[in-house]
Amino acid sequence: MEERQAIVFDGVVQSRSSFKLGPVTLGIPEGFITAIVGPNGSGKSTLFRMALNLSKPDYGRITVLGNEMGGEDEHLIKQRIGYLAEGPFKLDDNLKACDKALYYSRWYPSWNVNRYQELLHILGVSDNQRMSKMSKGMRRKFEFALAISHSPELLLLDEPSSGLDPIAWKTMIDVLHRYMGQGGKTILMNTHIIEEVKRLADYIVFVAQGRVLGMYEKDELFGNWFTLYVSGEELTPGRLAELPGQCGIEAVGASSFRVTTGKALDAEEWCRLNGIAISSRQALELDDILAAHLQQDGLGSRVHETRGLFT
């Protein structure tokens, strides 16, 4: 069964004096939640903006919901998309939230005012005030309700939870699960919150310095990355270097080592065949897996110096 793609980036490049993005080739599968994860300034928001044709690539093609952006009927495609931008628009500051909602609703034929009111209610937001008077989290919740009230087919969420308190965060997760439950919906999000990825994502894309380092099915990714504590007679780091997926060896005693692997099953089989005992195992967290990716890619110094991960 061939999976349909909600967004396709095909050889996309954007060069600026201070930053080069791409070439990026990436497909965002329809019907799933894909989370983009990477250090600050790796080009995540630019990818979002390019998907909406708010920023144009120098090379390459971008297809959204089966259509290339930039054509005459671009607005028709955009009506099927919901977008929560990274930060608030300064120009909105003097608008009352309810006026912005009214303006917004005119652009979306599928705008559902009841759904909007329900979302404000469960998020605990009143739209009867100027947006500059709203707290950061309140304004975020309002923007979130706006982005989803026309039941878009594709939802682009740029760091959706920034500024939200834990209760609002949990509500947002529930709302997003319910949104996906309707079927045929796609979410592309970008986040730094590990728990958010764990609770929501089906696929994870690692990006750094304008490039895609890899795209993985979430459970497979977490099932592959483990730290193993191994020991064996006359075991040396040189021998352990051959461990499948090995990316970090640290001595923890005489002939005992702590090794990190990105191919846990193969690594355990290898240990068994080589008579190396595994005394314990620990799954890696998402940030550790990202750090390992950065290191493999030669981008790691910045990250692992500060985190002391693979020293």
Binding site: G181, R199, D202, K218, F226, R281
Partner: protein
Amino acid sequence: MRLPIQINEQSSEPLYQQIEVQLKALIVSGQLAEGTLLPSIRELAQAVKCSVITVKRVYSDLETEGLVRTRQGTGTYVARVGEQERDRQRLAGVMEAIDEAIVAGTRVKCTKEELNQLFKEAINRHYGEGG
């Protein structure tokens, strides 16, 4: 409906297998009766914090084994599990363990008679002599 399925993230057993084994046990043991509507793929994924891809795989494996049925548009239901099938599923794990024991025996060149004797001794240890 919340299924009593627990995941061990630290286990080397793949996630889909952990879920599959537990869900199978719930169905074969009759805890989930025939015709029970299972959670949607997204719901179960949310409950056990895994991806929908994993749950899809579990449901499709169980469907192949005839333990669940998917009705287009309405969801996934527990299928009728016949007595024979129930016994087969119930004993499948036991059979597997016995097979492994025999393999272990042949590895150290046990004869058929020796193995027979060993099984008899093991059974007697557990159930008591002549039980």
